[in-house]
Amino acid sequence: MKRVELLLPAGNLEKLKYAIDYGADAVYVGGKILSLRAQASNFSLDDIKEGVEYAHNRNKKVYVTVNVIPRSYEIHLVKDYLISLDNIGVDGIIVSSPAIISIAKEYTKLHVSVSTQCSISSSYSANFYKNNGADRVVLSRELSLDEIEYIKNVADIELEVFIHGGMCSAYSGRCTLSNYFSLRDANSGGCAHSCRWNYDVYQNGSKLNNEFFRMGSKDLVSIREIKRLVEIGVDSLKIEGRMKSISYISTVAYTYRKLLDDIYNNELKPYEYYEYLLGDATNREAASGFLNHEAGKDETLYVSSDTEANKNFLGIVLSYEDGVCTLEVRNYFENNESIEIISPSLELKHSRITNLKRDGELTNAARHALEVVTFECDTILKKGDLIRRLK
């Protein structure tokens, strides 16, 4: 069975390392310029270089998003930037702009993926890009599994498919609500998520809705669709979320890594197992988008756009010695709580917190994010392991 690339996002160097350690085959990052997700902690060229070295030493890849629709005041930056990325050893770039594809092809040897911002929805569109400089297309998130299979069979180009994370309510790149309402250019990374705002619907001067009308999309989760995508033979499975936390990146990478490896090894467990592994890493409501049928009520946040913070991620292991774990805290927990340990090299393990201490003194609870505590744990832990509350 063909091995498909598991592609994780990384908002900074630390997240890049976690993504790779927890199972990504490749990561995508944004530089300081020409990248969407303007609010993500983007990478300097030095950071990208270090990230590439870290990835290549582990036989993994790094793609850089250069996916803005550029404006005339920034287009002059593109050529030198792409040449720098090529010289650093970046494996490829993800682009939306035809101008940037042209420059990449003329001056670099970078692998070029055409972004989902271009809403590539057919084999015809995929073939256009194949014939005009692209090495890979990131398919529109509005496609079903059957449509993806058809494109794979007909179009002779690498296919990348989004499998997890946030989705636009509109076709990506075909929304200017943010531009109009907030003067924030969605195609330059400034999206104000205006589709999640509150609207009323009027006809002939009468308001037709009782509750507010909203159009935001539920997040995408596709645990149950991965096997089919592997069988179809797509080339890359992509996770959204360059602005997400370390716990999110690690947990999602860990879950899909386990799922893929179990598929390859013919050891697939019930899907509930992988959904449990994923836990509440996705803290917004989620669905399978368009993969199984046209997205409707169950794939849309019509009623509430509120998100609840994930409070079950307790912290990151800093060290483990003689049965004592030193932990950097993320959320409140108490002594004697039951926990789960997520470790790149282990199956999910359960344990219990005992002898919780702050500054060497016994305490009944870890209360503050980023404080450092110790506790005794009978499971051998490693730096970088994640601890979450056992529900």
Binding site: Q39, Y124, R174, N179, D185, N209, G296
Partner: protein, 275 residues
């Protein structure tokens, strides 16, 4: 050339240096859609070039209908489109290709890419400023250009049928499919955005009408001036056509339609950067 949208034969004025845009059921999304048979009639009887608006993103399942329409519309001059898959399809038709992807085509460097394709013309983004447009059109031309000089811009295109889905949330919410008299209002603004749902998805337009006539001199190097018609009254639309044809005085027109805007011509767009 001025390209304007028509919905019947009586609107063809056969004036020199104008062309007609038609929208056809099954392949276009517009309140102005006409049947494929009537589109054939229009093309046969027209003395001026006729262009078909193909303003959707097409999936493979949509291509048989596209092929049927293009096979039937003999004499069609070209297509105005946003899905680059149609460039592949057009290898069988040899129509003029006017690429109109909405928010894209923001820098003249895009021309370097498209000049190697069979695309004849690029429609410049309406989301860039006047100075950026000047930059774009003042460079050496390797392609034809177009610009939407008038109309209510589309600002949201989704495949999701939001009105239909919302009927599963509120049981007494009416069926609004194919209704073109519906508006969305954002809770904090006293503005009403024309919105419709059809078989192709869900579309939201700006409430204001953009008209850049007073800056027409900037567009002397632009080959296609497009007048958008959705959600404009017939009277205002044809007054606007007369304005662009030089048949009526701008001052008189402006008095009649005082609330039109210049869109993003003088607005500085940004992103909210993390501090």
């Amino acid at each position: 050339m001025i390209l304007y949208e028509i919905k019947n034969k009586s609107e063809m004025k056969n004036i020199k240096n104008t062309g007609y845009i038609i929208s056809v059921f099954g392949v276009s999304s517009s309140p102005l859609n006409i049947s494929i048979d009537y589109a054939e009639e229009i093309i046969k009887s027209s003395l001026n070039p006729v262009y078909l608006k193909l303003n959707l993103l097409y999936h493979d399942k949509d291509y048989p209908k596209l092929i049927e329409v293009l096979d039937n519309l003999k004499g069609l001059k070209g297509i105005i489109f946003q899905d680059l898959g149609l460039v592949e399809l057009n290898k069988n038709y040899n129509l003029d290709l006017i690429y109109d992807p909405g928010t894209f085509n923001t820098v003249v460097e895009d021309v370097s890419y498209f000049k190697n394709t069979s695309i004849e013309s690029l429609i410049i983004s309406r989301e860039i400023s006047l100075s950026e447009i000047k930059d774009f059109v003042s460079q050496d031309k390797n392609m034809l250009y177009g610009y939407h000089v008038y109309g209510k811009p589309l600002m949201f295109y989704s495949l999701r049928k939001h009105f239909t889905s919302f009927r599963n949330v509120e049981k007494d919410f009416p069926n609004l499919k194919d209704k073109y008299d519906v508006f969305l209002k954002e809770e904090t603004r006293n503005e009403f955005y024309p919105t419709y749902e059809d078989e192709n998805g869900f579309f939201i337009f700006r409430d204001e009408t953009i008209n850049v006539y007073e800056y027409l001199h900037i567009f002397k190097n632009v080959d296609y001036l497009i007048l958008d018609r959705p959600f404009i009254s017939d009277k205002e639309y044809f007054d606007t056509l007369d304005l662009y044809l030089g048949s009526i005085d701008y001052k008189e027109y402006k008095n009649k339609y005082p609330s039109q805007t210049l869109g993003y011509f003088f607005k500085e767009m940004g992103v909210k950067l993390k501090k």
